[in-house]
């Protein structure tokens, strides 16, 4: 066969190749031409979640002894990483929570603080309930994708398995001496349920849900957490129990245009 001779059915082939493109193009044009008022009902727009970190209003500045615990220790932060799962919107009477965004979202306060929550239904909400850590179905060794970040959050099997819910590390002045602390939280028994207060009006347009993490709350109410006796929490169910309780109110939420 002479390859220089046009295929006798080339026009048909070209038409077949071109047809889907033409259909797609005409579809685009039609959408553009729809008159106002004939479109589908308003669909919920994607909500962005952004985490902010502060200590009683003072923004997080890493590696700087700038903050004070309720027990009176001044402290710095060198690492703040945690998972968020099971995000629920609270209605006015706080009995009906819709919907659940399962997550998980791994927050690294140094560089990863914004996530796409997907579309959420419009409504007037009073706050958010979420888990600071991983729900039990996710808190199993190997349950999360083997990313470098998840691997570094693993909680050894010999200590219960699963993952760290939170790594919160830095230094505090202990009698004037800079001393390290490593607040590590894990194991299902210690999974904090956080109620984040704040009015949220979702009107169907794209919004940013801002969750503000107050580090000082980790060391305050209902338990005054003493870093001098609790600088290393991972091996202590007692210490992690205190932290679980204290983390219930670490977040507040607000909506941004």
């Amino acid at each position: 066969m002479d390859t220089r001779t046009p295929h006798p059915r080339l026009p048909e082939i070209v038409l077949l190749l071109a047809l889907p493109l033409l259909v797609a193009l005409s579809g685009c044009a039609k959408e553009d031409e729809d008159p106002p008022g004939t479109a589908d009902p308003v669909q919920p727009a994607t909500i962005t979640l952004r985490l902010e970190h502060h200590a009683d209003g003072v923004p997080l500045l890493f590696d700087t002894v700038l903050y004070a615990t309720a027990a009176g220790h001044t402290y710095s932060v060198s690492r703040l990483e945690y998972y968020i799962t099971a995000i629920e919107l609270l209605t006015a009477d706080s009995t009906d929570v819709e919907p659940v965004v399962a997550g998980p979202f791994l927050v690294n306060a140094r560089n990863t603080t914004t996530f796409d929550l997907g579309p959420l239904p419009p409504g007037n909400y009073t706050g958010v309930r979420l888990r600071l850590g991983l729900t039990p179905d996710l808190n199993l060794t190997g349950a999360l994708p083997n990313t470098l970040e998840n691997v570094n959050m693993a909680w050894p099997d010999g200590m219960g398995g699963g993952y760290h819910f939170m790594k919160f590390e830095g230094h505090f002045l202990n009698g004037g001496v800079p001393t390290g602390y490593a607040i590590h939280l894990g194991r299902n028994e210690n999974l904090p349920t956080c109620h984040a207060q704040g009015g949220l009006l979702l009107d169907g347009s794209a919004r940013t849900l801002v969750a503000r993490f107050n580090m000082n709350e980790v060391f305050r109410t209902p338990h005054t957490y003493d870093l001098s006796t609790g600088s290393y929490s991972m091996g202590s169910m007692m210490l992690m129990g205190l932290l679980r309780d204290n983390c219930a109110d670490v977040f507040t939420v607000a909506i941004e245009p």
Partner: protein
């Protein structure tokens, strides 16, 4: 109709292009286009996905070229290390390192999963980034010499297509080779795969390693046995010269004395230990962590223990068990695999 003709023209170009690709690959052994074979980097399922930029896929030919460059002293011609190859300081039988005095030589192992390079993290990013440092700053590769070589121009053309050998192409070939240096067949790996059972001493050591008592796992988590982070592990209480570590890069006081956590894979082969090679044996290292950690303002929080003491309180048997476990991280396949040895 004009639109249809245009589309037809586009389709014809695409068809011709595809035909052209097939023709180049099958009929011309040395063409202007690269003639490469994709290479799938194998690793156990419990390893993370390696960092391979979409623009730098692994190929059989690219890895082979990188391997040759790694072992060839020609790479250092006219540079400050003339007469040396990468392999001169990175011996396969020692997990691609050699004993040195002064600054210790980091092993080349599993760097496909790394984003921080060199003891103080002077280079961060991808293997391409650190290879650029090696090519341009360290070896100061004379690409004119490579272009004048009897064989390299053809080898580069096969991998990258027509054109001169450039620094970027040398970087690309070396990065491919480094990604190939994967160690995943230690006794620990075989244990994890159910092929063997660790000895009681190795198992005890593993449990200590992964417990709060030994507390090794935070900086050396499985399976990579490094968190790729930087830590002041308490070697000193004051810092000067090279001992300042990452501080030399960032200028941040909290980085004083902080160095990259090296992988512990093949650690039994890579003595001496620490950035300055101050410890000769693994026993020395374990004893340091047991009783020798020194306090400083920048001591990593992970070195803190419950209570005021920085000691671990390990028994002689526990220390021996930890060393046994560290030996279980040796990958005999990696250090003897002919595919990773010199091509010369």
């Amino acid at each position: 109709m004009r639109a249809l003709a245009t589309i037809g023209g586009v389709a014809a170009v695409v068809l011709l292009g595809a035909t052209g690709c097939r023709r180049d690959a099958s009929e011309d052994p040395v063409s202007d286009a690269p003639t490469t074979t994709p290479y799938a980097l194998e690793h156990p399922s419990y390893f993370p996905v390696p960092v391979i930029p979409a623009s730098a896929p692994l190929t059989v030919e690219g890895i082979a070229l990188g391997r040759r460059l790694y072992y060839d002293t020609y790479l250092s011609r006219n540079g400050p290390f003339e007469g040396l190859a990468c392999a001169s300081c990175h011996d396969q039988s020692r997990s691609f390192t050699v004993p040195t005095s002064g600054t210790n030589v980091l092993a080349h192992v599993n760097l496909a999963w790394s984003s921080n390079f060199l003891w103080n993290g002077k280079v961060t990013g991808t293997l391409e980034d650190v290879m650029r440092f090696e090519v341009e700053e360290f070896f100061q590769v004379d690409v004119a010499e490579l272009n004048a070589h009897a064989e390299y121009p053809l080898l580069f053309q096969k991998v990258f297509g027509a054109g001169d050998i450039t620094g970027d192409r040398v970087v690309g070939a070396l990065a491919q080779w480094f990604r190939r240096l994967t160690s995943t067949n230690s006794r620990l790996d075989k244990h994890l795969r159910g092929e063997i059972i660790l000895t009681p001493s190795e198992m005890n050591g593993a449990m200590l390693f992964l417990s709060e008592k030994g507390d090794c796992f935070h900086c050396h988590p499985t399976p990579l046995m490094t968190d790729n982070g930087f830590h002041n592990n308490g070697l000193s209480s004051t810092f000067a010269g090279l001992d300042v570590g990452r501080y030399a890069i960032t200028g941040a006081p909290m980085d004083l004395g902080a160095f990259k956590s090296p992988t512990l894979r093949n650690i039994a082969l890579t003595a001496p230990y620490m950035h300055d090679g101050r410890f000769q044996t693994l026993e020395d290292v374990v004893e340091f962590y047991n009783s020798g950690v020194q306090h400083s303002a920048s001591l990593d929080p992970l070195m803190t223990k419950p209570g005021p003491s920085l000691t671990l309180g390990l028994t002689p048997q526990e220390k021996a068990d930890l060393v046994s476990f560290l030996h279980a991280l040796t990958d005999d396949t990696f250090i003897t695999d002919p595919a990773l040895g010199s091509p010369f």
